[in-house]
Amino acid sequence: MTDTLIVIQAASGELGKSDLSAVGFGLELASAAGGQLDLLLLGPGAEAQAGPAAALGARQVFTMGGAELETYTAEVFAGATAFFLEGRSYRCVGAATNSASREYFPRLAAVLDAPMASDVLEVESVDPDRAVFTRAVFVGNLLATVELEAPRVLVTCRASEFEPPPSSEAAPIEAVDAPGGLAHPGKAFVGIEAATSDRPDLKEADIIVSVGRGTRGPEEGIPLCERLADVLDAALGATRAVVDAGWMANEFQIGQTGKIVAPEVYIAIGLSGSIQHLAGMRNSRTIVAINKDPEAPIFEVADFGLVADLFDAVPELTAALEKRSG
């Protein structure tokens, strides 16, 4: 048992950046264990995504779709993955950390009786009976080494810490039938209220403009930041204070209880830099902070800081960048 399986939630649309990173993570796991990588695409987008997925360096790509996998639920995904694993042996079963894998992976771990490491940042080693990973603990303030002792382990990865693999020769694709009876009789999916935005997705964006309480809301500073984001083709993010105030929807929250991001450039505007917020963005390549308080903790992690009133600085910066990009 040296092979790795990466499970990808294939909703409609293309493979996302974090799916590609999860494949990169899978290749690292497989090489640490001395084996090969297979991919399992689950859901309505599985067939469409299989082609591109097959060109990422895996040995084989499996797809599973069908009526019961049309809508994601933790019970169905845990059940489908457990079914797929019957009679197949993998050393590591992995996925990117996201709101789905946060619930169906531990459920699967219980069903399979396998130990699990959540949201790992590094693969240290994978031996036949011990797998060692690095992960963040205590609101991202410390790194911990975690050792799992079992012949099969489950592991999710922080996608921003892993590189998408280069493209390679196409691997074979095999469709696997989903078994009946995956849906839990006691659970019904009622609906989803998803934000529609023309801006790039937070997890995919190269640049994020992130707003804090200092912007004083959608009537005052937030439109200024939106304009800056438009000029930069950046995604918008927010602190919890902004979301709790009802100024922006919950899916924009960055931090311990929001999304964890690591874009090329993170521009923090009118936010203090609480430890819970830093936990979600401190690994960004370059951090820029605009805050009127020189003592704000965000300056401790910023590569470039500007001590200024955002109501002056943000429009000026937008104008200056507009002029330069001509």
């Binding site: 709101s99 531990p106 603990v137 303030n141 989803i192 311990q256 300056f299 800081g305 200056a320």
Partner: protein, 250 residues
């Protein structure tokens, strides 16, 4: 109706945790502890459900040593009716904790289990979904609202997912984990604190409940984050624009 709330003792939310000399453990000597913030939300939600119903029992449970008794008392001071502490001894991994909690659920037969979505110390976010998996119950994660149906047979839960807000309906018994916007936990009142001292805490050894199996996941060391060199404080917006363009950041 019976509500079972799982809770964990964790260091205070803004505590600065240091690594002990040698690097394989933490220096927790001067650290204050509290109920994991997400579990506090779960306790609050259970109390609110009890208030809407007029009658219900709220039981809090933790797997932990004698020191975690304090956090059970805190939850009872908020209003929980009674507590169960499972003494595990040594280090238990998430699956072992989930097994112990599953055994308590089997004994107590709650209609709803409420948990925090994450423990702010280990940040695993594993135990509740493992527990739901062991019980074979439906689950909902990262709830920002929980509504009990009029007949008391199901809950409608709004979950904070990456794409937005997802609504699920779960038949009871079920397990739901709390996210930050679920509610604002109350402070314990003085009479609440006095009463909590008289409320019962049942203490059980883990072996009395289940065979926890072997510990297969362990933290074997800690490291500090890599120090980042201090950044540059720029003098003007123009300088910032220049840096961004020159360094090809944008």
């Amino acid at each position: 109706m019976k509500l079972l709330v799982t809770l964990k003792r964790t260091p205070q939310r803004d505590a600065r945790i240091r690594i002990a000399e040698g690097g394989d453990s933490l220096d927790l000597d001067n650290i204050q502890f509290e109920v994991n913030p997400f579990d506090e939300l779960a306790v609050e939600e259970a109390l609110r459900i009890r208030e809407t119903l007029g009658e219900a029992e709220v039981v809090v449970v933790t797997v932990g040593g004698e020191e975690s008794q304090q956090q059970l008392v805190s939850a009872m001071a908020m209003g929980a009716d009674r507590a169960v502490r499972i003494d595990g001894g040594g280090t238990l991994d998430s699956l072992q904790i989930a097994r112990a909690l599953a055994a308590v659920a089997a004994r107590e037969e709650p209609d709803l289990v409420l948990s925090g979505k994450l423990a702010v110390d280990d940040e695993c976010g594993q135990v509740p979904a493992m527990l739901a998996g062991l019980l074979g119950w439906p689950q909902a994660n990262q709830a920002s609202s929980i509504e009990l149906s009029a007949d008391g047979a199901s809950v409608t839960v709004v979950c904070e997912v990456d794409a937005g807000l997802e609504t699920l309906r779960l038949d009871l018994p079920a397990l739901v984990t709390a996210d930050l916007r679920l509610n604002e936990p109350r402070y314990a009142s003085l009479p609440g604190i006095m009463k909590a001292k008289k409320k019962p805490v049942e203490v059980l050894a883990i072996e009395e409940l289940c065979d926890p199996g072997a510990t297969r996941s362990r933290v074997t060391g800690f490291r500090a984050l890599q120090e980042k060199p201090p950044g540059a404080i720029l003098g003007s917006v123009d300088e910032l624009a220049e840096v961004l363009v020159e360094k090809k950041l944008i």
